[in-house]
Symmetry: D2
Subunit: 97 residues, 4 copies
């Protein structure tokens, strides 16, 4: 039932540096106890759809208190019956090269 999600969130009205806001989102993700992996262009989160979406909503609600314009991108990969995919997907590719 689990999904792997690549998630980016940032404010557009706060000027050139957005890392303080990204760091707040990451802290919310960490607190959720879901498996995650921070990347240069987004954070991958793995879990049940409802759990992942709840964390994304928390990140959004938190940033809304500080910003009047927010952009988010979400990529979702669902594969039936698989879990441990944040590590597994990378291994599956790496062993083929």
């Amino acid at each position: 039932m689990s999904v792997v999600v690549d998630f980016s969130i940032f404010p557009i009205d706060k000027g050139i540096s957005v890392s303080p806001y990204v760091a707040e989102a990451l802290q919310i993700i960490k607190k959720s106890k879901l498996t995650y992996q921070l990347g240069p262009m987004g954070t991958c989160i793995e879990g049940d759809w409802n759990d992942v979406m709840e964390v994304i909503q928390q990140c959004f609600e938190n940033l809304k208190q500080q910003s009047d314009r927010i952009y988010m991108t979400i990529k979702v990969d669902y594969r039936k019956g698989h879990s441990g995919r944040i590590a597994g997907k990378i291994k599956s590719v790496e062993k083929k090269i």
Copy 2:
């Protein structure tokens, strides 16, 4: 409080033609009564975060009954206090060109 969301969903395990599955998602979006606009690469939906995410989840649950691997992309634009933005954003750009 409303967001504008660009949403794409399709199965990866059903071969080259995915329009039957996209059509099912579109029907779910239509039934929701949210404002939407079908595009060549995704459907834009406008509404409260919870309402939009519920529709997206319905599309996902529906496709999960038919497909074992699903890909989704979601782009979200939140702007405080604005609504009617599916039409408004396009007008705002068009009047400048």
Copy 3:
């Protein structure tokens, strides 16, 4: 050989309203004579890979003269031997609902 591309570009360092910059990108796309369709969350462009990527690069080069931080999202759908897809993809879905 043609692709359908959904393309968004905006500056992060210009404050809450980005439509003047989006309008400049749209003008560049219009001048290219490629088939396009403006949407609320991006513009769809259809054409040969090289032609589409050249237009996207022009939009990027133009915005770089005005902004020090730029975000772009690009979704690409390639289907062998098909063209006229900006209209065709929408029709294919609409006739199924």
Copy 4:
């Protein structure tokens, strides 16, 4: 002048497992000598726009020889005058949490 790009590519007409095709793309990226980082949902590549886009095109051309329907997502972050950002962006966030 450099950009950081998150790039995903996969065929839609090859069934549920796409890792062999992702592995081929990764090999092309490796050969390019650009800085990259493989993630669960895409590969981040850093370099000049032209160099990064040339690698992405090579991945696309390679997959076109095997697949009749291909999907790609690309997210681009440009920041003037900065380089070493694949490592730098992560550090910038991590030191704030």
